[in-house]
Symmetry: C2
């Protein structure tokens, strides 16, 4: 019917997502997003409405292509508790040393001070809570969720990774010795 978009939507979302993971929503400007995505401001506003719209799309992209992909890779349904262990351990082996933080954790912190937390943040946390809840008793699953978020904070803060990994291993060793859900 008319001219088609020239850019690759997925590539654009990936680079916007990385910019937001590094700096958060507030400190990444439209100019920075222009450089990161290769798009001009006009095209960004034409395609996503406004900065929030691009963020929402990038957040959804993160949930789908980073979080869900990570779960699928390390903790598919049949992997059980060992899958959860691998998922946790993988957090300490990101090449970026926390510079690319978790967009969910970072957003929970960044928007937690405002009146309304975006529903997307809560929904994303729910994905993890559900995953843990399926493989571990309820009391333990809340602990795993908190541990997961805490590890991401500490990795981003540059905390000693081997110590974190040893802690994860010990924690799952203990979980292995208890009755679980599956």
């Amino acid at each position: 019917m008319a001219r088609a978009c020239e850019f690759d939507q997925s590539a654009v979302l990936t680079s916007a997502m990385e910019a937001f993971r590094r700096g958060g929503f507030g400190s990444v400007s439209i100019r920075t997003l222009e450089d990161a995505t290769g798009l001009k401001a006009g095209s960004i506003y034409n395609s996503f409405g406004d900065k929030q719209g691009l963020f929402r799309a990038a957040f959804a992209h993160y949930v789908e292509h980073v979080l869900r992909a990570r779960i699928a890779e390390h903790a598919p349904p049949e992997a059980g508790l060992a899958g959860l262990r691998a998922l946790f351990v993988s957090l300490m082996h990101e090449p970026d040393d926390g510079a690319l933080g978790c967009l969910i954790t970072n957003s929970a912190v960044e928007f937690g001070g405002s009146d309304a937390q975006p529903a997307a943040v809560h929904a994303a946390l729910e994905i993890l809570a559900d995953l843990f809840g399926q493989r571990v008793p309820a009391a333990q699953s809340v602990k795993l969720l908190a541990l997961y978020q805490g590890i991401l904070v500490l990795v981003r803060a540059g905390w000693n990774k081997p110590a974190l990994e040893a802690m994860v291993q010990a924690e799952f060793d203990q979980l292995d010795g208890e009755p679980n859900v599956a």
Copy 2:
């Protein structure tokens, strides 16, 4: 020798601190800080050098008058493991529902994407790590640090507080049954 400052430094730092706890460093402007502290921009720059200087002072104020005060209240040296339990439980009973987040956790996340994490953030995390390390075996103390940070993220995200508190109680019940350091 000359005119004295009219404002109460501690009160100014407290209100600046609260503003930063709510919004982080980046999204709190000098105008907002003027309103929060009652000072005019000129006085702020005269007293603290620049925005970073005020933030540094507010961060130190937080460590001294919020973190250390919280430890002294709930977990004095003689309180042992029960003190740590009370410390953790207190995180779920803040009246602000996470709108006033922990300045340490929030800063770790906000500055984690930049080249150099401020040393003050790491030092503040060390305070908690040391506290835990004195009352619990090393492997457990790392877990408590991660749990502590994760709880703060989840509280700020509006997560179910009774579930978090039950998790904390269960975790410390288990710790009570193990040999500890003291």
